[in-house]
Symmetry: C4
C-alpha cells in the first residue's frame, strides 16, 4: 500500500470535491425549470434568472479551476486540510441559494430585496474565500504537505487572490446600494476578466505549472 499512497488521502479529497462542485453546478439549473408552458415573452422576461445562473456558474467554475490547481500541489491530506476543504465546500454548496434569491429579487422583488440578495451572494463568496485563505496560510506554514518548493509562492499568490475576492465581495455590496443589477454585471465582468488574465498567464508558461 506504500506505493498507492504516494499522495495519502488526496484521491478521495479530490473525488469528493469534484462531486460536490459538479452537483452545485448542475443544481443551478433547478432555478430555470418552469412551472408550466412559457411563452416567448415569459422566456425573455426571465433574463434575471439567466444572468444569475451565469454569475453562479462562472463562480463555481472558477472555484473548480483554482481548486484543481491548488489541490494538485498538496502532497498529503492531513485532517486540518480535510476540514478546511469541507469548509470551502460548504460555501460552494450554498451557491444555488443566492442564485435563486437574486433571480427572484430582480424579477419580482423591490430594491431592498435585491440588495439583500446581493449581500447573500457576497456572504457565500466570503464563506468560500475565508476557509480557503486559512488553508493557503496553513499550507504555507506546513511546507511538508506541499509537493515542491515552487508551491509556496503559488499558495501566497492564491492567498492574495482570496483577499482580493473578499474585497470584491465588499465592493459588490456597496455597489448594490446604487444598483443591484450593475453590481451583478460588474461582478461577472470582473470574474471573466480575471479568468482571461489567468488563462493567458498559464498558457504562456505551461512548463512551469505542469512540470513533467
Amino acid at each position: 500500500m506504500v506505493k498507492l499512497a504516494r499522495r495519502p488521502g488526496m484521491g478521495r479529497l479530490e473525488a469528493f470535491s469534484d462531486a460536490v462542485l459538479a452537483i452545485v453546478l448542475t443544481l443551478l439549473v433547478l432555478e430555470l425549470l418552469p412551472d408550466g408552458a412559457q411563452s416567448p415573452q415569459e422566456l425573455f422576461q426571465n433574463w434575471p434568472t439567466y444572468l444569475a445562473f451565469f454569475a453562479a456558474f462562472l463562480t463555481v467554475g472558477v472555484v473548480w479551476l483554482n481548486h484543481n490547481e491548488a489541490v494538485s500541489r498538496i502532497r498529503r491530506a492531513d485532517p486540518i486540510v480535510q476540514v478546511l476543504n469541507l469548509g470551502l465546500l460548504l460555501g460552494a454548496s450554498l451557491m444555488p441559494w443566492p442564485t435563486a434569491l437574486i433571480s427572484a429579487a430582480l424579477k419580482e422583488g423591490d430594491r431592498t430585496d435585491q440588495i439583500a440578495a446581493i449581500c447573500v451572494f457576497a456572504i457565500v463568496t466570503i464563506l468560500i474565500s475565508v476557509p480557503w485563505l486559512v488553508l493557503d496560510n496553513y499550507l504555507i506554514r506546513h511546507r511538508e504537505l506541499l509537493g515542491s518548493a515552487t508551491d509556496v509562492p503559488w499558495m501566497r499568490a492564491h492567498a492574495r487572490m482570496s483577499i482580493a475576492t473578499l474585497l470584491a465581495a465588499g465592493i459588490s455590496v456597496a455597489l448594490a446600494f446604487a444598483s443591484p443589477l450593475a453590481s451583478l454585471v460588474l461582478y461577472i465582468i470582473v470574474v471573466a476578466a480575471f479568468l482571461a488574465v489567468r488563462l493567458r498567464e498559464q498558457v504562456t508558461k505551461p512548463s512551469q505549472l505542469h512540470p513533467e
Copy 2:
C-alpha cells in the same frame, strides 16, 4: 509524482465531467415526478414528458459517449482545454431546462410556446456544440496536447460532426414552425440513427480506436 502525472490534469477533468453529465442525466427525472396520485389516463396523457425525457437522455448520453472518446485522446489539460470543457458542460447542465419547457408546452401550451421550447432546446444544443468545436480546433492546432498522430483526423471528424449538429439545430427550429412535435420526433430519429452508424463504425475497427 512524475509517473502519476502522465496525463497531467486529465484525471480530475474526466471525473468532473463524468459527474456533471451523470447528474444532468439523473435530474431529467425531476420532470416526471407527479404532484399527487395519477390515474392510468393521466399517466398516458403525460406522453410529451416521456418523449422530452427520452430526447434529452439521448442527447446527454451521446455527449457522454463522444466526450469519453475525445478526452481519451487528450494527453494534457492546459487551462484553455479546461475552460472550453467547462463551456460545454455549461450547455449540458442546462439540458433539464428545455426538457421541462418542451414537456409543458406540448401538454398545456399553445403553438408559440411549443416553438419557443424547441428553440431553447436548439440554443442549448448550440451552447454545447460551439465550445466543443472551438476545443476541437484548438487541439488540432496544438498537437502536442494530443496523444498520437491518429488523433488529429479524429478531432477533424468530430469538428465536422459539431458543425452538422449546429445545422441540425437550425433545421429543427425551422421544422418547429411546421410542427413542433414532428421536429422533436425527427430530432430523436436523427440522433438515434447517428448513434447506430457510429456504433457500427467503431465496432468494425476497434483496434484502431483502442490501441493496446
Copy 3:
C-alpha cells in the same frame, strides 16, 4: 499510455455508472421532503412513502452490487457495451418516478392509481433488466471482452437472474390487481431474500470471485 489502458474505457464507464446510481439513490429522498411542519400523526400517515423509498433504495442498491460485480469482469468497453450500459442507466435513472407514484397512490389515490403505479414500477424494472440481459448475452458471445474463462458462467447466471427479474415484474403486476400493497411488500421480501442468498454464496467462496 499502454499500461494505463489495461482495461480501456472501463474507468470512466465505472465512474459514470457509480455517479448515476449514487444520484438516483440520493434523489429518492426528495419524495420525503415535507411541504411544511409535520405533526407526529402526519409523519406516521406517511408510511407508504417510507415503504416506497425502501423498495426503491433496495432495488438501486442491488443494481449497484450486481453492476459492480458484472463490470469488474469486463476487460474492455467497446461502444456496444457503453450503449447497453447507458440503456440500463436510463432505467435506473427513472426509479424516483414510480417511487413517487406509488407513494402518492397509496396515500391519496384509488385502487386503479395504485395498480398503475405498481405497473410503472414493473416497467422501470424491465427497462433496467432488458438492456442488461442483452449486455450479458453480448458479453457471452464476445468472450474476448471478458477478463477470464470463469466470467462466462457468471454472465450466464446473471442472464438467468435478469430473466427471473422480468418474471417477478410480471407477477408483481398480476398481484397488484389483488392488492397493490401486498405486491410491494412481497417485492421487498423477494429482493431482500435474494440479496441474503447471494451474500451467503459469495461469502462462502470469496477466493473464486476475487482472485488476487
Copy 4:
C-alpha cells in the same frame, strides 16, 4: 490485473460512497431555495433553516471524514462489507429529510412538531450508526479484510464512537422535550467539539495514521 486489484472492490466502494455523501451535502441547499423574492426580514426569520442546514452539513461532513479514515483501512470489500456500507449510505441519504422537518417545525410548527422533527433526526443518526457499528465489529472479527495490525484498535475505537453517537441521539430526543432548539444547538456543539478533539489527536500523530 493482479496489480490493479490490490484492494479488490474498494475503488468503486469509495467512489460510490463519495458520490452519495457529496450529493447529500449538496441537496441540503434545496431547503434554502426561496419561493419568491425575500426581504431582509424574511431572510433573518429563516434562521431555523440555516441552523438545520449547518447541523446536517456538519453531520454528513463528519460521516465523510470518518468514512474516509475507516475505508482506507479496509483491504478488500467482500459482499457483507458492501451491503453494510449501503446500509450506512441509506441513513446518510435520508439526512435532507429531518433537516427539512426541523427547519419547517422551528419556523411554523408547534412544540409537538418540533419534538417529532428532532426524533426523526435522531432516528436517521441511528440508521447511520447501527450498520456502521455492525461493520466495525464484522471487520474486527475478520482481520484478514483489514490492512494492518494497527487497524483493529482503530475499528474498536470507532465502534465505541458509534455507541456514543447512539447515546447522543437518545439524549438529544430527551432534551427535545425540554427545548427542541436547545437540543439542536447542543447537538451542533457536541459534534463540533468532537471534531476539534479528533483533529487535535490526528494532527499530533500523523505518522501513525498515514504510514508512508
